[in-house]
Subunit: 349 residues, 2 copies
DNA sequence: CTGAAAGCGCTTACAG
DNA sequence: CTGAAAGCGCTTACAG
């Protein structure tokens, strides 16, 4: 029969303080502290009879080892921190899950936090994680100066940056080929006859946004097309701003005939604007989005592999912790152009 | 000038053990341990001069308080655990983020884990979190027997279940009105003239799947329609199974004229199948999905508010920790029918 | 096979 | 205003 306890019961007990400890178990089983420790940790050198008595005491008291205390003594916490921009962004779901799986395979738990694209909040979070003595850190940085991490790195906190590089420190980084992906995507539009192509991206201080813009410019230059100021727009990716940017590019005397979107948030809004638009405008977006194949036309994208970014970063993190890895590296993962229709539309004029 | 340290340097230092401690700071500043503690924690009663000296020592040594040690002494860890099915599922992104925001507002960090819909893995994760002495737990359960949590609840670990109820224990739970939402969605199809309506859902052991099926049956019964066996299909939500289920319902001598999907994973696949289908089939899905408004026709859904689920649960968790909350409750959040076209199609015959 | 002592890095309770 | 001692719940190193 399961006993039931009212919440009042639970609270009357000063929480946490009155949980049974190894000392309580030892007293009840009539053995020494170290013997309990041996049984709890499955160490050898305990007679079956003693072990049995200890296990009974553990069961009877509802003992559960306090890993906080263990950690203090052992040095490693078996936990890693993941700092990203926004847990709610679909791009980070598969990335987080991949990091978690690698952590799990290495016996570690994952502490997660969103920086909300705020450098101060990033630093606050990272340092809170360091204070908890996480063994390692996977960081999608919001800021561009990470010298605040120097003492931590020196103290041995493993660190890998993902999606964007670290600023002003030497650290491992795993990212997508943002430049090449954007260049290919824009070249694809040019290949389909477009010359007036717009670029709408995230804030220029964000590394991926800057790189993708650079890719756009490179493709245009390769084709000998001079980019007009009115064709590029960088800024926050909220729907209102992106919508305005798209509508401006699409109006006026010589509107763009194609748009390249700098990330998934931008894509969602631009696709909406284009759906309301009468003239057909070609479109390619960076990042794949769900159901992109079912829209009319299907949405052509430059896809990056978010899970692979997370997996690669986490694996490097644990290799740092093993001591296998000695030199910080920059790893670039390829992107993939997926053609579905929107990027293959010819210019409307 | 930022110094740079090779990874080898960092590793040669026995990690973690050789971080400066308060004792080191005290020695360097020529003060007692308690004085350092006072400065670090911003407590009153330290002269400006002493404080200054301590701060200099902290800076020089790169001291960062070890919160693991602090936690051991204080009792509360200022961290909460969130166990969900799959971090990569877009339904859980906004939910996690909402839990994180509430945690942050209460000064707590979030430890995150995926159960992968496996009851054993859920238990393993939950107990690992308890061993870390998280202050509270937000659980989207995979299993249906949570008696293993009894000792933890008794010890004062705050706990709130979300999306699905706890099994065999008395605990707070926050969920959507799965029954009512599904019933309304199916009634909507019936209102548009459908009588042969299919239901494709998740595994029947999952509470939400069972409730939504019950809602489907209730709507059919209210309309006096006898449900044929071939019209319902429950099981894993991977694309192959769902596709097969949909195709079977749509073929044969008297196919369904409408389909109700039990969750977002099912919706994505069914919408794909219907897009390939020549005959027009009406559709309503449980859970909203991105870009649903841009498909042809727009996808009518029964939307639940994932962020509200997370926020409500986390807020209750902290109210438990305050001692404000005394009786476990079941909170049901309403769903909302969003009509976009697919659910308003008339029967094809 | 078993256990007493010391210590991990902090905070608490107390004394000066 | 300041600090020495004890203790949080474990593990480590050692002795029997």
């Amino acid at each position: 029969m399961p006993e039931t306890h009212s919440r009042a019961d639970r609270l009357s007990a000063t929480r946490y303080g009155n949980r049974p400890t190894m000392k309580d178990v030892a007293a009840r089983a009539g053995v020494g502290l170290k013997t309990v420790s041996r049984v709890v940790n499955g160490e050898a050198g305990v007679t079956a009879e003693t072990e049995h008595r200890v296990k009974e005491a553990i069961e009877a008291l509802g003992f559960r080892r306090n890993d906080s205390a263990r950690v203090l003594r052992k040095g490693r916490t078996a936990s890693i921190g993941l700092v990203l921009e926004d847990l709610a962004d679909p791009f980070y779901g598969p990335l987080s899950r991949a990091v978690e799986e690698v952590a799990r395979a290495n016996g570690a738990l994952l502490i997660n936090g969103s920086s909300a694209e705020d450098p101060e909040r990033e630093q606050e979070l990272v340092l809170a994680l360091c204070a908890r003595r996480v063994d390692g850190l996977v960081v999608i940085p919001a800021g561009d100066d990470h010298r605040y991490l120097e003492p931590e790195l020196k103290a041995g906190v493993a660190t890998v940056f993902v999606d964007r590089p670290a600023g002003r420190i030497d650290a491992d980084v795993v990212l997508s080929d943002n430049f090449g992906g954007a260049r290919d995507g824009v070249a694809h539009l040019i290949g389909h006859g477009h010359r007036r192509i717009g670029f709408i991206g995230d804030m220029p201080r964000i590394h991926t946004a800057a790189e993708r813009l650079r890719g756009y410019r490179a493709a245009m230059e390769d084709a000998g097309i001079a980019v007009e100021d009115a064709w590029t727009s960088l800024g926050v990716t909220d729907p209102e701003r992106v919508r305005r940017a798209a509508e401006e590019m699409l109006s006026g005397p010589s509107p763009v005939t194609a748009i390249f979107a700098g990330n998934n948030r931008v894509t969602v809004t631009v696709v909406r604007v284009l759906a309301e638009h009468t003239r057909r405008v070609a479109f390619v977006g960076f990042d794949d989005i769900e159901l992109a194949d079912l829209l009319q036309p299907g949405v052509t994208v430059v896809a990056q592999d978010a899970a692979a970014l997370g997996r690669t970063a986490a694996e490097r993190l644990f290799r740092q912790l093993d001591g296998t890895l000695l030199t910080p590296e920059r790893i670039e993962l390829p992107t993939r152009l997926i053609t579905r229709g929107s990027g293959e539309l010819p210019p409307a004029d």
